[in-house]
Every structure is written in C-alpha cells, then in structure tokens.
C-alpha cells in the first residue's frame, strides 16, 4: 500500500528499504483515521 512513514527523518539515509515498521493511526477527519507506519520498536532511528 501507499502510505507515509511517521516518526522518522524524511531522508534517504533514514528511510531504509525493508526496515521493520509498525502501524500508527493518525487522526484524519471525523469519519476516519489515516494508517501510517513508524520504525518498529527496537529499530535504530
């Protein structure tokens, strides 16, 4: 799926392909939240 990475610097160096991630739900509007992903716990940021 297309999504955004959260809680990590938006640079090629920090955004490592295949890094383990976990979902976070960011508030969208009154009807829905937006699923995004952050580096999984334990992954060095």
């Amino acid at each position: 799926m297309m999504t955004n990475m959260a809680g990590v610097e938006q640079t090629p160096e920090a955004l490592i392909l295949d890094m383990p991630v976990e979902v976070v739900f960011e508030p969208g509007n009154e009807h829905l939240d937006i699923p995004k992903f952050r580096p999984a716990a334990g992954v060095i940021r």
Partner: protein
C-alpha cells in the same frame, strides 16, 4: 492482426515544438493533423476513422470536418496512441473504416485550453495514494526504482547514464529541446526532484503534438511517402496504482504487451534495428530493455552503460533524444511512434543506417498500462 496488412501513410508533428503559448490543446491537435494530412496528400473528406486521447475523438472529428464511421477514445495515458494504432489496424482489417487519423496535442507547459491536471478524488489513486502526498509522476512513478536499486544494485551513476546517452542522440536533432552534451556528473549535480531522481533524469514538460494516418497496406503504395508497415502490436495493463504493482522491479504490462507484439510479428530480438522506449524518467528505458526481453533482468542499466544504445551502438535507443531531451508534452507515446516512422522512412535526423525494423514501446500512467508497435519498411 496479420503482420503487414496495415500501413502508416502519413506522419507529422506540430509545426513548432517546445513552448507554444499561442495554440490551445485542440489547435495543437489540428496543427498536427493538418501537417499529417498534407504529408499523406489527403484532406478531411478522405478520413473516415478518428482516434485520440486527452481530447474527445468527437471534438477532433468535428473540429477538422471529418465524418467518421469509426471512433476510438481509448485513454490509458501516454501509450494510448500505441493502442490506437493497434485498434485502427484491427478496424481497417475488419472493414469498419478505410483511413484512420490518430491525433495528439497537449499544452503541457503553457496549459492553454488544458484540462485539470489531476484525477478525481474518488478514483482508486485519489482514495488510496493521493492522501499520502503523491502528486503526479515525479512522486509516484519514481517509487518502484528504489526496489530495483536494492534488488539489482543499480547505481545512481548508471541511472544518470541513461540521460547522458539520450542527450548524445538529442545533439543530432535540431528539434530537440536540449542538445548540449551532459556528463554523469552534470546529471548527479542537477537539482534533486524526487529521490533518487535529479532534474536531468526527469522528462521535459513542453507543448506540442503529432498525428498519424493509417490505411490498408494494399492502398499504401498510392501515397506520396514510403509506407511503414505495422507488423506486430501489443497492449496490456496492470494496475492504476503504482503501489499495487506485482513486482516493483518489472512491469507486467510491459512484458505482456511486448510479448504479444513480438509473437505477432514473428521476429527475434536480433531482428530489431531501432527501439523507442517511452522515457518519462531515466529508469523507464532500463525496465523496457528488460521487460521486452532485450536484456536479462537486472542487466539493462549495464547494457546502456556499456554503450550499446548510444550512436553507433548495436541497439539504437530513443534516437530523437527521448522525453528526457527531445520533448514531453504529457503523453509522449505519439513522439516515440513519430521517431519510429522517421527511422523507417529513412528521414530521421539521427538516422540509423539501413534500419528495417523498429519498435515503439509506450507506458501509460505509472506502469499502469502499456502498448507496443513493431514497424517495418518492408512488407512481410
């Protein structure tokens, strides 16, 4: 289709190319259409089939005074014109019409009379990709190559070389937008647009158009220019959302369309003298070389790096300079077809000596769709 049963008997681009602030989209279509009719020695009354994308074929037919018995408004992005050629060949062979005009015009830079840029928010992309900030080709078409780079070790330098080699071709073309030689360092030092793509690895945004006229091969000898025969055709699609590609390192639509065209033409890769692969960004020729079967997976960039596609190489590729250096109005497929026709007529500015078989391969959307046309100046 039966290979060689239909021919291109008219081909031309707009009178001007690049920045054309005084012509609207439909005027660009018309300018290309009139130039093409002149090239074929025909008038609107001689045309009975119309195909276009971006505009309605109804609007084009009415604007030019054509009464069609066949219309095709297939609009699947930049390769739509490859699909129009394929559909027109089928229609001519079926007797639905005799003489088809395919037009393209786009005010990509000046935006005169141009439709809105983005799709509907209720489309699949609008619902599931747009909310995350992808806003058109630079931020979505570029994504798959990151997987390719990891999988095959493609380097930034190899990606940059695609643009360098195409500039060598553009240098020979007086109508190309950019003609000055560039180096790998020039490319890597140009402004970053969307990682890993620098400015010189992204296609141009210009104004222009082009048109083709097709008829049955049996009639083709009655026209002023050397006929260019359609000997193989293919089309396919994969997904409207780049994020849903089965494999980011290869385009399924490319593979299916290409194989269909090769099978139909009954030719081998060694038979191909000239190749056009729609290059919206620098990774497209690499995917095209591999997905059409000219190179093994992961070897396309090396093939370009080693000089096989440059002037004098064994497989001249994107000889007009491509979308990276020649022009790119938005739906570039028409210009790839135009260059294949010029090469088959023997009149290209960077003519490949003795070329007999040419392939024009297009992409639609972000690896969403594909169309492949194989042409020859000899009737099989």
């Amino acid at each position: 289709m039966k290979p060689g049963s239909v021919a291109i008997v008219g081909a031309a681009e707009t009178t001007e190319m690049g920045v054309i602030p005084d012509l609207s989209v439909i005027q660009l279509h018309a300018d290309a259409a009139l130039n093409t009719m002149k090239d074929a020695g025909l008038g609107p009354k001689d045309i009975d089939g119309v195909a276009t994308a971006g505009e309605s074929p109804v609007a084009i037919a009415h604007y030019l005074g054509i009464t069609p018995t066949w219309l095709d408004g297939t609009a699947v992005g930049g390769c739509s014109f490859m699909l129009h050629v394929r559909h027109a060949a089928a229609a001519i062979n079926e007797g639905l019409c005799k003489t088809v005009l395919i037009t393209h015009g786009e005010s990509g830079r000046s935006r005169v009379g141009a439709a809105g840029r983005w799709g509907s928010p209720s489309s699949l992309q609008g619902q599931f990709e747009g909310p995350y900030g992808t806003s058109g080709p630079p931020s979505s078409f570029t994504i798959p190559v990151l997987r390719y780079m990891k999988e095959y070790g493609l380097t930034h330098e190899e990606l940059a070389m695609v643009a360098v080699v195409q500039r060598e071709w553009a240098a020979m073309n007086p109508r190309a937008s950019f003609r000055d030689p560039i180096t790998v360092d020039d490319v890597l030092n140009s402004r970053m647009i969307a990682y890993p793509f620098h400015l010189l690895e992204c296609c141009l945004v210009t104004d222009g158009g082009g048109a083709l006229i097709l008829t049955s091969a049996d009639r083709a000898k009655d026209f002023p220019n050397k006929p260019v025969y359609i000997i193989g055709t293919g089309e396919s699609s994969e997904t409207p959302m780049v994020s849903q590609m089965e494999d980011f390192t290869t385009s399924k639509a490319f593979r299916v369309s290409g194989k269909k065209a090769f099978d139909e033409a009954g030719i081998s890769h060694d038979d191909v003298d000239h190749l056009m692969v729609y290059d919206a960004f620098a990774h497209l020729p690499i995917y095209g070389l591999e997905d059409l079967g000219f190179c093994k997976r992961g070897e396309g960039a090396r093939f370009i790096w080693e000089g096989n596609t440059r002037p004098g190489g064994k497989l001249p590729l994107n000889t007009n300079g491509g979308g990276l250096s020649y022009m790119h109005s938005g739906m570039y497929g028409m210009y790839a077809l135009q260059e294949s026709v010029r090469q088959m007529r023997g009149i290209a500015p960077a003519q490949v000596p003795g070329a007999k078989i040419s392939i024009a391969h297009g992409v639609g959307g972000m690896f969403a769709a594909s169309g492949t046309i194989i042409m020859s100046n000899e009737r099989p």
